[in-house]
């Protein structure tokens, strides 16, 4: 021991020291980056074709080379898709559908999150008689295919006098978002320390007081997750939009389908591509700007399950 313990004269010790060197082109790195690049390429290719095609004129498209970049860049297909493309009687493009979708999505998202967060909070913290049964029924609801419930829902909306209106569709989206959102909020609130809830009760806060002052400010991460789920889900919805509204209120997805699948005239691939990108732009933007929160929220919800 004595001769290996050198205290005086700080000499660099022989043998390995410091950080372990790693090769940039190790077999492991090649595998990882290779697979990642391949996967990225696989997903980016269709998007590339769409963007390229939407910037070409029809004569160029007819040449048939879908991968080649546009020789003459034109934004005319985008303008046409947004404001001129015809669907049935109307020839005002996707813009009408866009605003319909906004009118549908914004209230649906706000109402469903508000109701679901209260549901989740009540189920997590105020265990009432039969709360477990209630929760089970709600979860079972999440596993029943939507198609089964379409016709009963139509009848219910008709009886309520809101069939074919925006309000009716908002109700449908709120109801169908309930199981998954309630589960999300319940699990999140359950993961918060129970003593916080108890402390608030000792402090004299009631059901709404605790919800508004204590729980809601702590629920921001899960709110963002719920918002992303709902915005993308409702924006991308096609089925409910076509079943529960009239053509005047068709959301953007239905409008897109009607443009792309219109049988009269020539197929304008460039317009179709532009219209598709426009329709997908909102969910894409949501992911792009809040993906960070999305991951954080999922992680926050998962740590204490």
């Amino acid at each position: 021991m004595a001769d290996t313990l050198r205290i005086e004269g700080a000499v660099t010790p022989e043998g390995p020291h410091g950080r372990k060197p790693r090769r940039a082109l190790s077999r492991r790195n090649i595998m990882i980056y290779g697979v990642l690049l391949l996967a990225a390429f696989y997903y980016i290719l269709p998007l590339y074709v769409m963007v390229v095609t939407s910037l070409k004129g029809m004569p160029e498209i007819r040449l048939g080379n879908i991968f080649s970049p546009p020789v003459e860049i034109t934004f005319e297909p985008w303008v046409k898709a947004w404001s001129e493309a015809c669907t049935g009687l109307n020839c005002d493009g996707l813009s009408r559908g866009f605003w319909n979708s906004v009118l549908i999505t914004v209230p649906s998202v706000l109402i469903s999150i508000a109701v679901a967060s209260i549901n989740g909070y009540a189920l997590a913290n105020w265990r009432f008689k039969g709360s477990d049964v209630f929760f089970t029924i709600l979860i079972v609801g999440a596993f029943i295919p939507y198609q089964v419930m379409l016709y009963p829902m139509v009848i219910i909306l008709r009886e309520l006098g809101i069939y074919g209106t925006l309000a009716g569709l908002i109700v449908v989206h709120t109801v169908f978002g309930m199981p998954i959102l309630t589960l999300l909020f319940r699990n999140y609130f359950t993961s918060l320390p129970e003593e916080l809830f108890k402390a608030a009760r000792v402090d004299g806060a009631g059901f709404w007081g605790i919800y508004l002052h204590i729980m809601l400010p702590m629920a921001v991460p899960i709110m963002v997750v719920a918002m992303i789920l709902q915005v993308t889900g409702i924006w991308n919805d096609f089925l409910f939009g076509v079943v529960f509204t009239r053509p005047d209120y068709y959301p953007m997805t239905v409008q897109l389908n009607n443009i792309v699948n219109s049988v009269q005239g020539v197929k304008e691939y460039n317009v179709n591509m532009a219209a598709t990108i426009l329709t997908g732009a909102v969910p894409l933007a949501v992911y792009f700007f809040s993906g960070r929160y999305f991951v954080r929220g999922i992680a926050a919800g998962a740590v204490k399950g």
């Binding site: 320390p193 003593e195 916080l196 108890k198 402390a199 608030a200 009760r201 000792v202 402090d203 004299g204 806060a205 007081g209 002052h213 204590i214 400010p217 702590m218």
Partner: protein, 361 residues
């Protein structure tokens, strides 16, 4: 002294499991009562019942003579401090302290006065504008105590408040809590599984097991005259030595015999009559056995097996008449393993338990 908190025939069942069993407890005004027990004994459940956070299945709870069994926590005149501190993370310390008062609709000048007073007592004035995440564990617990303090209540409830702190901080805050109680003179009910906290803080300790209070007494009574085998084994570290044997007739009165070793019980005071032939357990605390000293009623040979120096004390594990005895001696006195020593026993400080009922004789 009037009784501050009074619990009458309190029971609580979770489904088929009965957590509290017809419990009775009277806590005097200004008393520091510690509920002590291992996890699952029902001590926290009892505290939550007093706070109004759990509904009892049967029985009544009185605070200051008022039946509060069905009242909301806020109306009971209690303040509570939790193990995890339970500070509202999005609020500053000041908001944490004033939250309950704002909910109660108190006017702003009174809120400010109370927050300032609590902050002064707990010395947390410089922290008032900070968020809980920016505080250390000890500071957080001070704020949590402050939240109970501003409520200006009759009864403080503590649910293992020091368990999440490291040993050094725990000892510091323990002293602070005792000082707080001495200056405020409020009734305090304190749940812990730490017997040192219980012995140092309590006016009286209630030791619980399986939803039943085993003994309710002052700390020194609990320590020196445990009512049954469970209490005797639970309190004290290292644990009391238990010797299994029988009572025998002896020229000097009655004696205890185990594996041929005989202990005269002349110094043992008990209201019970000790009959020869009864199977019993003799309990001896490690510090009530003397090594190589003159005096003491009984004297025996033993061999040192293990020595554990602990600084101030030196803990010896001795082989004696087929038993292992732990003995505490002064830290300066060292013994090497294998040494033969002479033991004398202070029988006035011993405890005798019936082998069948495990009750003190």
């Amino acid at each position: 002294m009037t009784s501050s908190v009074s619990i009458k025939n309190l029971s609580l069942d979770f489904g088929a499991v009965s957590v509290l069993k017809t419990l009775n407890l009277d806590i005097e005004d200004g008393e520091f009562l510690v509920l002590l027990g291992s996890s699952g004994c029902g001590k926290s459940t009892l505290l939550n019942c007093i706070a109004g956070l759990l509904e009892p299945t049967a029985g009544q709870i009185f605070i200051k003579g008022r039946n509060v069994t069905w009242e909301e926590p806020k109306d009971r005149g209690i303040g509570m401090v939790f193990q995890s501190y339970a500070l509202y993370p999005q609020m500053t310390v000041e908001k944490n302290l004033s939250f309950g008062l704002k909910i109660a609709g108190m006017d702003r000048s009174e809120i400010e006065r109370r927050v300032a007073r609590a902050a002064g007592i707990l010395q947390i004035e410089p922290l008032l504008k900070r968020k809980p995440a920016e505080l250390s564990g000890g500071q957080r617990q001070r704020v949590a105590i402050g939240r109970a303090l501003v409520r200006d209540v009759d009864v403080f409830l503590f649910d293992e408040p020091l368990s999440n702190l490291d040993a050094k901080l725990r000892a510091e805050l323990r002293v602070e809590l005792k000082r707080l109680h001495q200056s405020l003179k409020n009734t305090m009910i304190y749940v812990t599984h730490d017997q040192i906290e219980a012995l140092t803080l309590a006016d009286r300790i209630a030791i619980m097991k399986n939803g039943v209070i085993q003994q309710l007494d002052a700390p020194d009574v609990i320590y020196n005259a445990p009512r049954n085998l469970f209490v005797a084994g639970f309190i004290g570290s290292p644990s009391m030595n238990f010797l299994k044997g029988t009572l025998v007739a002896d020229p000097g009165g009655i004696a205890f015999e185990t594996n041929g070793a005989r202990f005269s019980l002349a110094g043992y005071r008990t209201p019970a009559t000790l009959d020869a032939g009864r199977p019993v357990l003799l309990g001896l605390r490690p510090e009530h056995i003397r090594v190589n000293e003159e005096g003491g009623a009984v004297s025996h040979e033993a061999i040192v097996d293990i020595e554990e120096p602990m600084g101030a004390d030196n803990l010896l594990w001795l082989k004696h008449a087929g038993h292992t005895l732990s003995v505490r001696v002064n830290g300066a006195r060292r013994f090497s393993p294998g040494t033969a020593v002479r033991l004398s026993f202070d029988m006035a400080m011993a405890s005798l338990f019936d082998a069948a009922s495990e009750e003190r004789l």
